[in-house]
Symmetry: C2
Subunit: 220 residues, 2 copies
DNA sequence: CCGTATTGTGAACAGCGTTTAGTTTTTTGG
DNA sequence: CCAAAAAACTAAACGCTGTTCACAATACGG
């Protein structure tokens, strides 16, 4: 039954064509410009047709977001691989952060969409648990490994690599978000300045923590 | 002319009543539930009336956001003042972060609105530059001062207090944002766990950085 | 070639932000 | 106190939105 397979492929092709058109609209004009009607017109179909391929506008956006995470992962890998093979863990750690920020600065609207809507809705959808989790892990485990290597080399003294990676993520994500939303406008005005700030921030994590026991010493 | 003053006060009163109603809707049902029509019905006026007090839905939301920042500032102060008078700078630093997070966790929808929409639009509105900047500074300078004191005590070795405060803000804000959007669901499941993570994160900044000169040493 | 799926659509529904023309209420001045 | 002017308020409409549903067109297996 090669015919059915072809039909399935064609259906899939149109589906991804829709997602790509949606991505283009978001990238170029922002999320608020992405209406089902505008999207339908761009792909030269009726608005109702979209609902044969996506049950919702939300489902469509979710697909756009998914592709966004894939591309951000690639961006981080690209930044890391620009380093020579002799780069140590700290440099790779910095590179990951730079890649994250670079993606955000080059795809502002895209980045916003990826993090503005809550992810919770995705949890109860079993289809995602396989592919989505895989995509997530693909970008995530390298970061954990880098932190682990840095810890092994004594550069970071964090409780564990997982936690350290989360903290790094939070730091980079927070600064990027604040910068993109304009809240750092009075502190840092250009992308170059921001990247410098980010570098400083990631360096602040180095050898920054000695486990809980020492905390009581603060009181003295 | 005391009469005109009274009229002005009454007008102002309705204006703030509108903002408070909007805040309630956002807090209870989220931003997407805040429609001009629903808001008008809640205050028992016609939708058109809202446009006598606000030129835009955006302007109205901006007002809600402004109040949000004020309340978050209070929340941070409250958390700090729960400390005894003998608390050192590090403890106050932690308290600020806790206050920030506490506000976010207790006012999820509110917090999202405060940071989701870009602030850039506010810049070219001269009316804000006075009051807004003041509100902003009111919450901001204490943080800078705390970081400064911590640096003086040798607890942080950051280039300057301003930068250190921004970095702290980014760290806390990023972790809170990621947690609220569900991206940390697999790492931290409860608010208590999250607060512990946050504490660890803030501690990672302590004595975490020695100025640029030493950076070359990494390469060796 | 015919009946049946599949794929696509036009038109409609309810709700949205916003504007305009008009009504009701309040203040003012003689 | 009453008419005129001003201020406060609103009903109705416009064009937009996401979404649905009855219907048309096309492609398929028998």
């Amino acid at each position: 039954m090669g015919i059915n397979e072809r039909r399935e492929r064609e259906k899939e092709a149109l589906r991804t064509r829709i997602v790509e058109a949606a991505r283009d609209i978001v990238s170029a004009e922002g999320l608020e410009a992405l209406s089902m009607r505008a999207l339908a017109e761009r792909i030269e179909y009726s608005p109702a047709t979209l609902y044969l391929y996506f049950k919702d506008k939300d489902e469509l956006i979710q697909e756009v977001v998914r592709e966004g995470f894939r591309r951000m992962g690639e961006c981080m890998c690209a930044e890391s691989s620009e380093l020579g093979s002799g780069a140590d863990a700290t440099q790779q750690h910095r590179a990951s952060g730079r890649g994250y920020a670079r993606f955000a600065l080059e795809n502002t609207a895209y980045f916003r969409v990826m993090f503005e809507l809550p992810t919770v809705a995705q949890m109860d959808c079993p289809t995602h648990d396989e592919e989505e989790a895989q995509t997530g892990q693909e970008s995530w485990t390298p970061v954990v490994e880098v932190v682990q290597r840095a810890m092994d080399a004594g550069l970071y003294a964090l409780p564990d690599a997982h936690r350290g990676a989360v903290i790094s993520w939070g730091l980079v994500h927070g600064l990027v978000s604040l910068y993109l939303s304009g809240h750092l406008a009075e502190v840092v005005m250009s992308n170059e300045e921001f990247m410098k700030l980010l570098e400083d921030a990631m360096d602040s994590l180095r050898v920054g923590w000695t486990p809980r026991e020492t905390r009581q010493a603060d009181l003295a």
